[in-house]
């Protein structure tokens, strides 16, 4: 069966999208848009490769295994990401950072979201996506500035084409849509990765962003990390859709589910999504099944709303040990490689400890400097008021 919109598409849309998809995959648009019957999974939790039959592939949902070089590079980032998460949590406990929403357990999603992009592409992360931001190349200490508390953001979004880590849920998805739209108007081949969590799919901006991206036929990948909880509220209280990926078809875009702790499957699915988007498929929605191993933040107590047995169950599906077994069995990971990767991770952890251990003095008058491009007379007045206070404090010392 082939579905058509029963209204005319805007001029900006690709009108023969249906024919295009039929040629590409030999399936109907509806089959293309609906996710595969099962989540895409390539490697078992014990690290063994699933057979072609076990992978449960269906026409249009067949994914080639990523190259060895890509897998090794991604694994290295995975190890670094885990080390960063644990280092940051330690720094919070030591009082060096105010808060850190850890992505421990979700590092495969973090790494894949950044690694599938090219240099000219953009990434729009949430507050929990620090590892993705770093994987994109942003300086780790600059990433953590927001959590140290000296300013709301520490890196230049334009340098690595990474939006500021966004706190209000799903609002950044619309910024991703705007960046893609501007690029498209200029004829640039920019793909934009827009990240959010499962709870965020209940927000109105999730709907508006997906609909805008679809109507304007923009190359945006909406990447939902379904880590099962929005602070304490389980997914069953957010949505009764067959899956979050199924929401895609309602907007006229393709959706896919993937094992979010299987880095091999993630890279395969994300790489293809980026390729399709770059080739003009319009937006895509990918739901990754993963688990937030730690509490929402250090201020949260996860034992109040989820059983230890559930956490233990997910511990067995850890993305890092799974990838390590797989690559070791494949003969790609030997002692030397393990040693080199561990050293890399330790170097980044040291960089974080040293960078965040430094007590950088804050500049109170910066409060007024950046509200507008040029301070208004009122802000100048207030700045002088505070400067006077500071001078009096200083002379009283």
């Amino acid at each position: 069966m082939t579905i058509h919109a029963d209204h005319s598409a805007p001029e900006t849309a690709v009108e023969d999208h249906a024919a295009d998809v039929r040629t590409k995959f030999g399936i109907s648009v509806e089959d293309y848009m609906l996710p595969a019957r099962h989540q895409i999974q390539m490697v078992n939790p014990d690290g063994t490769l699933r057979s072609h039959d076990e992978q449960g592939t269906e026409p249009g949902h067949e994914y080639p295994t990523p190259s060895d070089a890509e897998l090794m590079a991604a694994y290295e980032q995975l190890v670094v990401g885990r080390r960063v998460n644990d280092q940051n949590s330690a720094l919070v406990r030591q009082g060096r950072m105010a808060v850190y929403p850890s992505s421990h357990g979700q590092e495969a999603c973090q790494v894949a979201a950044a690694m599938c992009l090219k240099e000219g592409d953009w990434l729009f992360p949430t507050y929990r996506d620090a590892v993705a931001v770093m994987t994109r190349g942003v300086d780790p200490v600059e990433v953590m500035t927001i959590f140290r508390g000296d300013w709301h953001g520490g890196y230049d979004p334009k340098e690595h084409k990474v939006g500021i880590q966004c706190t209000p849920l799903t609002t950044q998805l619309l910024h991703a849509v705007g960046v893609a739209h501007a690029a498209k108007l200029r004829g640039e081949e920019t793909v934009v990765m827009a990240m959010c969590g499962d709870g965020a799919t209940s927000e109105g901006d999730f709907h508006e962003a997906l609909n805008f991206a679809a109507v304007f036929h923009l190359p945006v990948i909406f990447f939902v990390q379904n880590n099962k909880y929005a602070i304490s509220v389980p997914l069953s209280h957010q949505s009764v859709a067959p899956s979050l990926a199924h929401k895609a078809v309602g907007y006229g875009m393709a959706g896919e589910r993937v094992d979010g702790n299987d880095l091999v499957a993630l890279l395969a699915v994300m790489d293809r999504a980026v390729k399709l988007a770059r080739e003009g498929s319009g937006p895509l929605l990918i739901e990754a099944h993963t688990y937030r191993m730690q509490a929402h933040t250090n201020a949260d107590d996860a034992t109040r709303y989820r059983p230890d047995s559930e956490v233990a169950e997910w511990q067995a599906k850890d993305p890092l040990t799974r990838m390590k077994s797989y690559l070791t069995d494949k003969g790609l990971l030997d002692d030397a490689a393990n040693h080199r990767i561990a050293e890399h991770a330790e170097a980044v952890a040291t960089q974080l400890r040293e960078g965040l251990g430094e007590d950088v003095p804050v500049q109170p008058l910066d409060l007024f400097k950046y509200v507008f491009s040029k301070p208004t007379p009122q802000l100048k007045e207030q700045s002088e008021l505070l400067a006077g206070e500071l001078a009096r404090e200083e002379s009283a010392k």
Binding site: E11, T12, W122, W151, H152, G153, D156, P157, K158, G163, I164, P168, T171, L173, L174, H175, A176, V177, G178, V179, A180, H181, A182, A183, L185, R186, G187, G204, D205, E208, A209, N211, F212, V215, D366, K369, Y370, V371, F372, S373, T376, P377, Q378
Partner: protein, 360 residues
């Protein structure tokens, strides 16, 4: 002609187009509505800069429900002036992304109260992005909001929402009261690297004036600025009426009526609520010693209360009487048959002026 947004459209080509379009029009003063002045400002800005885009609900083929974007899609094509899905947060949020990626969006919220779904994007991102990134990301966008009453509109079509935006750090808030200011302030808003809430008094859309577009264009090209500069709309000596946007013509009518009774009222048109021109406003009050602030919005916790506070902080010893206010009452905006009881009127303004403790 159609100007595409491709980077290969040089500024020179765009400027040539602007000059051609400008010279095609009659030079010298002509009768113009504020609607046409705003429309011309957008068209001129789009000719001058290919990164200026106009989008929103019904702004394309229809030219906007108030026809302010009339003809822009025809001249600049569907890529630069287009209709969006009906979702205000989406419109503003997408504009944020476009501003991040090199565009200068000029977006329309169809009516004041329909902008509320976009409040989070405006307050949490449009207003804060520059500060959050220490100026690395600028937000050169204009959010046009037809606002206030006086047109017999039904519920949700007549709100005076300027105080919400003026209260938010990081937003500039402009509101023109004359046809000429419609042109010059919208051009300046589009040129601004900071986000501007451009509040358009919808009852003044069809107000007319003799305007010399050629002179206004020359003024713009010379870099003349109205930001933070209130205008003396009518000079006077006995008391100051401080008004903005839709209340300026009402204040002028009150001043004309007062003149017949032998009282000389100065009328100040604030023009930009943020940044606010303390200097001009306070200079006038110091001169006259008496002031009434006029605004359609509810008085409680509003721009009008801010103006009273600022003036008494700076000109207390020059005051012969407390500063009074004539504002909308603290009730939801009334239905069409009741709105004239709510809106500041000439009579209410004259009554307030009478109450400024004249006999001592």
């Amino acid at each position: 002609m159609t100007v595409t947004t491709n980077a290969n459209v040089s500024a020179a080509t765009a400027n040539a187009a602007a000059s051609a379009a400008a010279t095609a029009e009659a030079s010298g003063p002509q009768s113009l509505t504020m609607a046409k002045a705003l429309n011309t400002a957008m068209a001129d800005a789009m000719r001058a800069d290919p990164s200026v885009l106009v989008f929103g609900e019904d702004v394309g083929m229809l030219g906007g429900v108030f026809r302010i974007t009339d003809g822009l899609m025809a001249e600049f094509g569907e890529q630069r002036c287009f209709d969006t899905p009906l979702a205000e947060s989406g419109i503003v949020g997408m504009a944020v992304g476009m501003a991040i990626n090199g565009m200068r969006p000029v977006i329309e919220m169809q009516f004041d109260a329909f902008a509320y779904p976009a409040f989070e994007q405006i307050v949490s991102h449009v207003a804060k992005m520059h500060n959050r990134t220490k100026g690395k990301l600028k937000m050169p966008m204009v959010i046009r909001v037809p606002y206030a009453g006086g047109i017999g509109g039904v519920e949700h079509h007549c709100d005076s929402s300027e105080s919400y935006y003026a209260h938010t750090a990081g937003l500039k808030v402009y509101t023109p009261a004359t046809v000429a200011d419609g042109y010059r302030m919208l051009r300046e808003a589009i040129d601004s690297d900071d986000p501007v809430m451009f509040m358009e008094p919808k009852k003044l859309y069809w107000s007319k004036d003799q305007v010399d577009l050629g002179a206004l264009r020359a003024e713009h090209d010379a870099g003349t600025s109205t930001e933070g500069r209130a205008a003396v709309a009518r000079p006077g000596t006995d008391a100051t009426l401080i008004a903005y946007g839709p209340s300026v013509p009402t204040a002028l009518a009150a001043a004309a009526a007062a003149a017949e009774e032998g009282r000389s009222l100065e009328v100040i048109d604030v023009r930009t609520l943020v940044p606010f021109d303390d200097e001009t406003v306070c200079a006038s009050v110091r001169k006259t010693g008496r002031a009434v602030v006029i605004a359609e919005a509810h008085g409680f916790a509003s721009v009008s209360s801010e103006i009273v506070a600022r003036v008494q902080e700076r000109a207390f010893h020059f005051l012969a009487a407390p500063i009074l206010r004539v504002t909308g009452f603290d009730v939801p905006f009334p239905s069409p048959k009741l709105e004239h009881y709510y809106l500041p009127s000439v009579d209410r303004i004259l009554d307030a002026v009478d109450d400024l403790q004249w006999e001592d």
